[in-house]
């Protein structure tokens, strides 16, 4: 048992943190958010240079063969800095499908370019009315007329994270055999994106597809387990991101309690506020524990350790992974709300101000609480799997 990052993980987390502290200050981020694309090519280039786009991919395709645990420190740093670059959409979602379900040819064609930072991806899945139900898809795919193995995908996808920046999409659609995945190019005719800014200042869009040429990814009709696996992986990543954001919210609130004076004394001398501050830190520690669990479980299908009994009865099965991820997301969602709301309350009026970073952290934590399923969704899923 060991809860530390290894030396490599720690070095990487430190260098990401240093880079973000220097080049991704709150001011710099504000400019990026206000720019027309809402992400920064310069930052993206550095992310690729640092090897972050290659971290969770096999060395066969130029990557570093890492897993969710290796990404934890990076995601914590991203949460602290409120990174809005399309990192999760590309590395945590889109390219993960290729890495896990793609043919050798697809992996060779796509992953090295992703690793180099020259290809951004997004996962176009959720449809109106599906809420968090991953199985509910109405988009259709049909074999294209004429020769070849091509498909045509038609449907409406909703709030696709990173859509405006994506070069390629992984799109879910139904064929005669059931739920399947397809790779489509964003430049294809018939594909339209309605871009917007989400409540946490990231870029997303509604993607409309009308007979868009697509390449089958993985087994026709067999997409659901892969979707669950990748979404669980991405959930583990945002759990770690939440931990970074929570840490910032706690630290900055504590600092405020020590410096803000009322009635002639720092407000942190008031017990009513001290106890609330303590509860925030307890929330943060509990969330961090569950993020550790989520990351180590997200890795378990690829990193099977059958010869060992585990601290939390580790069985490297999909159901076990899903149950642990849901447990983590319940706690993370609850504690995202608790910490974000309290951080604003303890800042008083200042917490409401757009000028303070903490109000932006509030927005990201609010989003994470519901991203890939809110607490209620995961309570139901956890119970189904128990």
């Amino acid at each position: 048992m060991n809860f530390d990052y290894n030396e490599e993980q720690q070095l990487l987390a430190d260098s990401v943190r240093r880079f973000l502290a220097k080049d991704y200050t709150f001011e710099a981020r504000r400019k990026i958010v206000a720019s027309s694309d809402g992400w920064s090519p310069a930052v993206w280039a550095t992310i690729a240079e640092m090897g972050l786009t290659g971290l969770p991919f096999s060395p066969d395709y130029g990557g570093f063969g890492g897993g969710a645990v290796d990404l934890m420190g990076v995601m914590e740093a991203a949460g602290d800095a409120l990174l809005v670059e399309p990192y999760l959409a590309t590395v945590g979602l889109g390219a993960q499908f290729v890495a896990r379900a793609g043919s050798e040819a697809q992996k060779k064609a796509i992953l090295p370019v992703v690793v180099e930072g020259k290809l951004k991806m997004a996962f176009a899945h959720t449809e109106k009315g599906a809420r968090y139900n991953l199985a509910k898809v109405d988009a259709q795919a049909r074999k294209s007329a004429g020769a070849g193995s091509g498909w045509e995908v038609t449907g409406e996808k909703f709030v696709v994270l990173g859509a405006p920046a994506a070069d390629k999409f992984v799109v879910s659609a139904k064929t005669d055999k059931g739920l399947s995945l397809f790779i489509v190019n964003s430049s294809s005719s018939g594909l339209k994106i309605k871009p917007y800014v989400t409540l946490d200042e990231q870029r997303a869009g509604d993607v409309s597809l009308s007979k868009v040429p697509g390449e089958l990814l993985g087994t026709e009709g067999g997409a659901l387990p892969v979707i669950e696996e990748v979404v669980d992986f991405a959930t583990a990543l945002i759990c770690a991101e939440a931990v970074g954001a929570m840490k910032f919210a706690c630290d900055t609130t504590l600092e405020y309690l020590k410096t803000r004076k009322q009635f002639g004394v720092p407000i942190g001398t008031f017990q009513a506020l001290q106890h609330r501050m303590v509860d925030m830190y307890v929330s943060y520690e509990q969330a961090k524990s569950m993020a550790c669990l989520a990351a180590s479980k997200a890795d378990s299908p690829v990193d099977v350790r059958k010869d060992r009994a585990s601290a939390v009865e580790d069985r490297a099965s999909a159901a076990d992974r899903a149950r642990a991820i849901s447990a983590a997301k319940i706690k993370i969602a609850d504690n995202c709300r608790h910490i974000s709301q309290e951080s604003i309350q303890l800042h008083g009026g200042m917490g409401m101000s757009e000028e303070l970073k903490v109000s932006h952290t509030f927005r990201r934590l609010t989003m994470i609480a519901q991203q890939f399923g809110d607490a209620e969704h995961h309570l139901a899923r956890f119970a189904r799997l128990s």
């Binding site: 048992m1 530390d4 001398t269 060992r308 139901a380």
Partner: protein
């Protein structure tokens, strides 16, 4: 990062589990499972079984009977005991007076008391709280006056009252914080740590019956009680130092994770046999089930948090800091939620007479109050960890 136990740690867990299976007497196991009251003999019997095996005081130095287990092994042992449903080991001798004597006691005190604590020959209790001194312990008034004997020796005369004395009615000895000097402006400096034989004339023990009808705590009155000066631990006026040392000592099982895991399993099993209004098992009722899941998730988080602290401790070699207070806060909240859900699951039955489950719910309100109320724990984190 690796949340798995090592092969050695798993083997150790198996060893403990197998040993508990064969050595925990069935009648004690049943009493614990049925929430029956455990008498002095029940508690001492289990204590002595562990003493015979050499496992009763794992954290003590080897020379006094410790096991040389590392913190993770100690945690595994405690968790397995909790999960198996052993009677509790009463902490007053093993985890409080013992470590104090090992750290501050004279050679004579160690020789005299430690083997008897280890073997379960003396039953100890703790004399800290007083009617006017709960969370504000340093305000205590129970007075000990140093007197000269005719023969040139010395003794103390103790007058005053202690309260909430857990299992005082079973105890052979009590360790007390007493006031030896009330003239000092810094009131902590006038406090001393004294060992008192409960059979000494002038001691009266009066039961305090709790709202569940149970007798576990007492008031202890001291009326001109003569205590030999050799029973003073450390120096006169240094009792607060001794008490503070205990605060940081051996609090890693504060979360009671093993016991809560057992209760959770029991609750699930029990609720699965209860019918909701629609006739289906209560565990399929979304409103009940969500409450159950939230407690389960909170317990999972606490377990990992506890392991993270242990891991830090093992690596740094430092005793746990104020963050252990977090384990107490969360651990006791979970214990209370479990008793509450258990009573809720048996709802109409719980109202027919004062049932065991309802009594347990009532009794467990104590957990967030005793051993430093959860508000005091928040004060500790606020001051020590957050610097407020």
């Amino acid at each position: 990062m690796d949340l798995s136990y090592s092969q050695e740690e798993s083997a150790f867990r198996d060893e403990v589990r197998v040993w508990l299976k064969t050595n925990l007497p069935q009648d004690l196991r049943d009493k614990v499972a049925n929430y029956d009251e455990l008498g002095r003999e029940d508690l001492l019997r289990w204590h002595r079984i562990l003493a015979k095996q050499g496992w009763v005081a794992p954290s003590w130095p080897k020379e006094f009977g410790g096991t040389s287990w590392n913190v993770v092994q100690r945690y595994i042992f405690e968790e397995e005991c909790g999960f198996a449903g052993t009677p509790p080991l009463i902490p007053f001798g093993l985890s409080m007076c013992g470590p104090v004597l090992i750290r501050f006691g004279t050679e004579a005190q160690k020789k005299r008391f430690l083997p008897r604590i280890y073997q379960g020959e003396d039953f100890w209790c703790q004399g800290y709280s007083e009617p006017g001194s709960g969370s504000d312990l340093a305000s205590l008034k129970c007075k000990a006056e140093r007197m000269r004997d005719e023969k040139g020796g010395a003794h103390y005369i103790v007058n005053g009252q202690k309260t909430w004395t857990t299992l005082g009615h079973y105890a052979d000895w009590i360790f007390c914080l007493v006031r030896t000097d009330s003239s000092l402006s810094k009131r902590q400096e006038g406090i001393s740590f004294l060992l008192i034989d409960m059979k000494t004339p002038g001691i009266t023990v009066r039961p305090l019956i709790l709202m569940d009808g149970g007798h576990e705590v007492n008031e202890v009155f001291f009326d001109d009680v003569k205590v030999p000066a050799e029973n003073l631990v450390y120096e006169e006026g240094k009792g607060w130092t001794v008490a503070k040392y205990l605060l940081g000592h051996e609090r890693m099982n504060t979360g009671r994770i093993g016991a809560s895991k057992r209760e959770l399993a029991k609750l699930k099993e029990f609720a699965g046999r209860q019918q909701g209004d629609d006739g289906r098992p209560l565990t399929e009722d979304a409103r009940f089930r969500d409450k159950l899941t939230r407690v389960e998730v909170e317990l999972m988080a606490l377990e990992i948090t506890n392991l993270r602290f242990l891991d830090q401790m093992r690596r740094s070699g430092q005793p746990p800091g104020a963050d252990v207070s977090m384990l107490k806060i969360k651990g006791t909240e979970i214990q209370q939620s479990l008793t509450e859900l258990m009573m809720q699951a048996s709802d109409p039955a719980a109202q027919a007479g004062f049932t065991g489950l309802a009594k347990r719910y009532c009794n467990f309100r104590k957990t967030t109050i005793y051993a430093g109320s959860n508000e005091i724990q928040r004060n500790i984190i606020s001051k020590m960890t957050l610097g407020l």
